[in-house]
């Protein structure tokens, strides 16, 4: 039984079916007692100040904290920073297996299947073992759909939704316990008395490095009813073809696929405005242009860099945005 880390969401059943422990390096970085320290350590080793903090955190958890035995590095579908990170892992003696989501392939399905076969070889599992295991994880994914629905209905907070969906990438390295934790949340949430909030907000973009933003946003007259990437991380597709689920998964592919998904959810969840979180120095900041152009609802872009509370300037922006949406909604302009 090995602890195997990964740099972004990949089919977690490959680890579980082989009896290995999945570790999403992002989750252990941001849940570390002192994530800021991990960034400092990476910078001390020479990672540039103007490089995304997630990369620095991912570097330190593996190289400094030695949190995992091996790593699956996603070299296509995330950013090119991961390529350089992979080189650093290898140079530090960590065994790395690459995994590439198809990009501009003529036949993405076959390309992805081939990648899954490679992944299976690295982890000593067959696709059939993985398919079988997905029947077990599907039960947990069904529960996460309930959590998401309860978020739309107002019983689960934006932060809880973020936390549980984002944790499903590795099920907190303990599927059974995670499943029970979800049960507890659902039971607790269903009994809650819900407060009527006026404005309905959707959060999109890479998961924030400052989760305290959730409680700040919801301390205003609004409810967060959607976390785009976190929901995608929970693999919402129920396609009977396991490989197709990861073709329908939007995060590793082009922004237009993401926009299509977001627009559908805006409609379904009756969202009044979108908060687009971007990470400092991330290439996805550029995609903000297309997001603003195509969504058809007001979009506020906020930027986070290092872990900790959101700064005063970001709070001012959120405040004004919610206030603007409130006024527009009252006048029937949304």
């Amino acid at each position: 039984m090995k602890k195997i880390g990964f740099t972004t969401t990949i089919p977690v059943e490959f680890f579980l079916a082989g009896g290995n422990i999945p570790v999403d390096l992002n989750n252990i970085f941001v849940c570390n007692n002192n994530p800021g320290n991990l960034i400092d350590e990476a910078q001390d080793d020479g990672l540039p100040r103007n490089c995304c903090s997630w990369i620095k955190g991912l570097y330190s958890v593996a190289v400094k904290e030695k949190a995992v035995d091996e790593i699956i590095s996603v070299t296509n579908g995330d950013c090119s920073n991961t390529h350089a990170l992979t080189e650093l892992y290898t140079a530090n003696g960590i065994k790395v297996h690459p995994f590439a989501y198809p990009y501009e392939e003529k036949d993405p399905y076959s390309a992805l299947k081939q990648q899954m076969i490679f992944l299976g070889n690295a982890l000593n599992v067959t696709l059939d073992m993985v398919y079988d295991y997905s029947k077990i994880t599907d039960k947990v994914r069904d529960k996460l759909k309930i959590v998401d629905r309860l978020t739309v209905d107002g019983y689960v907070t934006g932060f809880e939704n973020h936390l549980y969906l984002v944790s499903s990438t590795d099920f907190n390295s303990d599927l059974e316990k995670f499943s029970k934790d979800v049960d507890v949340l659902i039971e607790k949430a269903e009994k809650r008395h819900i407060e009527e909030k006026y404005v309905r907000i959707g959060c999109i973009g890479v998961p924030t490095i400052n989760p305290s933003m959730y409680d700040f946003i919801e301390s205003k007259n609004c409810k967060i009813v959607f976390n785009e990437v976190q929901r995608q991380f929970s693999i919402p597709s129920t396609n009977p073809d396991y490989i197709m689920r990861y073709i329908e998964y939007t995060y590793p592919y082009g922004v237009m696929d993401r926009i299509k998904d977001i627009k559908e959810q805006i409609k379904l969840r009756k969202i009044d405005g979108i908060i687009h979180y971007v990470q400092s120095f991330c290439y996805r900041q550029i995609q903000d242009i297309l997001i603003k152009k195509h969504l058809g609802v007001p979009v506020l872009t906020i930027e986070g860099d290092t872990p900790g509370d959101i700064d005063g300037r970001t709070k001012i922006r959120i405040d004004s945005f919610i206030e603007m949406l409130e006024m527009k909604k009252k006048k029937g302009l949304l």
Binding site: G312, R317, M327
Partner: protein, 248 residues
């Protein structure tokens, strides 16, 4: 009706005292304002009106950078965007416009349509489009803000992305003998250029400017030149946020 509007900026605290039609304008350094006029007791924070020499019967409305860092037991707080928008409504009498507000560390552009806020956008985490950059550049060049605002000839091209690095670029230009006026004009033009992505997000016939930096004539000239439209500074640009805190 007696009202006080307070805009707690990052550099200055601006205050407008309104007794009916009668307006009185006051300005304080932010740090000394917090030190001298903010009172704390066990439960809350107050604006010390007595010390400010204001009668108790004034209703206080405040906005600004301090908004989320502090809440005042004796003041109603509104968002900066709302305050600036309302300030412009009040000062112009128009209800559809683009307002460019250039503050000490934030710049923002607000699109007003038929009397409500249609949309707004603020600068990203970079001070190169704000008043703080103009101030620092003046320190480096050894000129006053007033002098800077007159300089609009033959602007040097400043290429640094970062406001701090730009300071050493200014020194480099001086060392290589470039005219001071040309460098200072370059500073104004570079702030104008940094504002373009924000300003170009919105379209309107009337474009106004507020914030302390709006009194910088040269900057307004370059912004107007770059967008090809006339930008009009508000009558009291620096007090726009405070004016917007007063009832309309």
């Amino acid at each position: 009706m007696k009202n006080i509007g307070i805009d707690l900026g990052s550099r200055y605290v601006k205050m407008v005292k309104a007794d009916g039609e009668n307006l009185e304008f006051m300005r304080y350094d932010t740090v000394s304002f917090y030190r001298q006029y903010i009172k704390r007791d066990k439960e809350s924070t107050y604006i010390d009106v007595e010390k400010l020499g204001i009668d108790k019967d004034y209703k206080i409305t405040a906005t600004g950078y301090g908004r989320n860092l502090m809440s005042f037991a004796n003041a109603e707080i509104i968002s900066e965007i709302k305050a600036h928008f309302r300030g412009a409504l009040r000062q112009t009498g128009d209800d559809s416009f683009v307002l460019i507000d250039i503050g000490g560390q934030d710049s923002k552009v607000i699109l007003g349509k038929d009397g409500y806020i249609e949309d707004f956008i603020m600068n990203d985490k970079c001070a190169a489009s704000t008043g703080r950059f103009a101030e620092n550049a003046c320190n480096v060049l050894g000129i006053t803000i007033d002098e800077l605002s007159q300089m609009d000839k033959d602007p040097s091209n400043l290429s640094s992305t970062c406001a701090v690095f730009c300071e050493s670029e200014l020194i480099g230009l001086m060392a290589s003998g470039v005219e001071l006026e040309s460098i200072a004009s370059g500073v104004n033009k570079s702030i104008a250029k940094r504002l373009m992505p924000l300003i170009k997000s919105f379209q309107a016939d009337k474009i106004y400017a507020s914030g302390g930096v709006a009194s910088n004539k040269s900057l307004i000239y370059y912004i107007s030149e770059l967008i090809g439209k006339n930008v009009v500074p508000l009558e009291n640009p620096q007090y726009n946020g405070a004016l917007g805190c007063l009832p309309l």
